[in-house]
């Protein structure tokens, strides 16, 4: 079972009570199998449940199922060492360096996340929070 080091931003350190920025998680995966960013987030959520909803959100899907799974929140960026995994989302495969413990997975808040009105066409352009 690979042990992956995840480096969290300050806000999530405080939210989870992890005690430090670097959190080691054991990711269940048979030897030689691919490990995805989603597997790491799942493991992180088992260890610190509040991180499950802080890092990912349900994919809204109309219909009887209600949701077709999870996706990385839009203002979160994920890196394996210096390699940006964000575009592939939770499906992104971790490189061997992360599984060997030589590189951490870094999760950071995107610079664009500061304003809820920053998305073009967002309803939040019309009124500030609570209004």
């Amino acid at each position: 079972m690979p042990r992956v080091t995840v480096v969290l931003p300050w806000h999530l350190v405080r939210l989870s009570g992890s005690g430090g920025k670097a959190v080691a998680v054991d990711v269940p995966a048979p030897p030689g199998e691919e490990v995805t960013l989603g597997d790491v987030v799942d493991a992180l959520a088992r260890q610190h449940p509040v991180l499950g909803t802080a890092l990912r959100e349900p994919i809204p899907t109309a219909g009887p199922a209600g949701s077709s799974g999870w996706r990385l929140r839009p203002y979160i960026r994920a890196f394996a060492g210096t390699h940006d995994l964000t575009a592939s989302g939770l499906e992104a495969r971790l490189p061997r360096e992360c599984l060997d413990g030589n590189e951490p997975v870094r999760l950071v808040g995107a610079i664009a996340g500061g304003s809820p009105g920053s998305e073009p066409g967002s309803r939040k352009e019309m009124a500030a929070p609570g209004e």
Partner: protein, 375 residues
């Protein structure tokens, strides 16, 4: 001696203002949960030192935090709000169907259970009602509300399709009112198992046939007095209303106000016919008429209104007062409190006759709640 604690949720954390019963001098603690938007800071109905906070950031979404020591330390709860399938669509801003998606918690309402313990209710965006029976650790949805036959006609107000007000009937534990923008008022008489829309008599300028529409009404805030729970008041996007029959029908009581638009409405702690609103110029402008901040009070259940401005800004005031940002204490005379989008918190210790600035230069105030504490 009694104390008063004003719980203020702001764009950048929570603040707690405390005074003795004289309500002349206030201490300010905060920011609590700094760096986060505290949408609603609310106290338990059983334990005055237990606080709940609905917290949100654009990066990491919504989380419910709980404090058992009056806000000094906090525990983040898992905060899983999952809609019960099927998940359908409401009318999006463009008029096209938009699939329900959990975005944030707007309001938290702790309700003491008749047999002991407490149920915590949460109104969320996209509009739905959840309950927690374990102090916020886990949440389940009252899905019959979201599955109401009118749901495809619900639409977002400017701030989203949100369930922002939860009002339990203090006499009938199974009866519950909720208010949704822009859907309207809904009532359950069976503990949330089924719901009826309660919008007859309301205006809605954007609905072609409001006389026959079940939903699409933009109620901004709903209130009832515990001593007379069959009477409801609401500040709506299109006027102020009163219902004398538990929401079955509404009569407009806007006459005498300078504007039909505003957000909060609260009722005096000891006088069920004394109601307070804060009119804003219009939906487009959202500031006090002529830049003069005034609370309006009716002492006859909406028959007549009087402006209250002693101690409030007379000019150049262009703030707003949001729907959750006004509350009363339980002392006599009744204290009234509100926060502004300009970061001011005003308070009156004489039922609104005069006002004092309790805090200034806070972040944008999103919510105000008041605890009246013994000792």
């Amino acid at each position: 001696m009694a104390r008063v604690r004003v719980l203020v949720g702001t764009r950048k954390g929570g603040f707690v203002l405390t005074s003795d019963a004289s309500r002349r001098a206030w201490t300010i603690e905060g920011p609590l949960l700094e760096g986060c938007e505290v949408f609603h800071l609310q106290a338990s109905s059983l334990d005055p030192d237990r606080l709940y906070a609905s917290v949100w950031t654009p990066w990491f979404g919504n989380v419910i935090q709980r404090s058992d020591d009056g806000g000094r330390t906090w525990t983040a709860l898992e905060s899983k709000f999952q809609y019960v399938p099927p998940v359908e669509s409401y009318k999006g801003l463009s008029g096209q169907p938009e699939t329900w998606q959990f975005r944030r918690t707007w309001t938290l309402k702790p309700v003491a259970n008749p047999g002991g313990g407490e149920t915590l209710l949460a109104g969320v965006e996209d509009a739905a009602l959840f309950q927690s029976l374990d102090d916020g650790a886990t949440w389940t949805e009252f899905s019959a509300l979201r599955h109401h036959p009118s749901h495809s006609d619900w639409e977002p107000g400017a701030a989203g399709c949100c369930l922002h007000t939860v009002v339990p009937d203090p006499e009938v534990p199974q009866r519950l009112y909720v208010a949704i923008s822009a859907a309207g008022v809904f009532r359950s008489d069976d503990g949330g198992a089924s719901w009826r829309s309660m919008n007859k008599g309301l205006r809605a300028d954007w609905i072609a046939d409001p006389a026959n529409a079940e939903a699409g009404y933009c109620v901004h805030r709903l209130a009832l007095h515990p001593a007379r729970p069959h009477v409801l008041f609401q500040q709506n996007h299109c006027g102020v209303y009163r219902s004398d029959d538990r929401g079955e029908t509404w009569q407009e009581i806007t006459e005498g106000l300078p504007s039909e638009f505003g957000f909060p409405i609260v009722i005096h702690a000891h006088e069920p016919d004394t109601v307070y609103v804060v009119p804003m110029t219009s939906a487009e402008r959202r500031y006090p008429p002529e830049g003069c901040l005034r609370v309006y009070r009716s002492r006859d259940g909406g028959g007549t209104w009087e402006p209250l401005g002693n101690g409030l800004p007379d000019r150049h005031c262009y703030v707003n007062v949001l729907r959750g940002a006004m509350a009363v204490d339980q002392l006599d005379p009744c204290g009234v409190y509100f926060g502004t989008t300009g970061g001011q918190v005003f308070g009156s210790r004489d039922s609104g006759d005069s006002w004092a600035l309790l805090a200034d230069n806070l972040p944008r105030v999103l919510s105000v709640e008041v605890q009246t504490l013994e000792g």
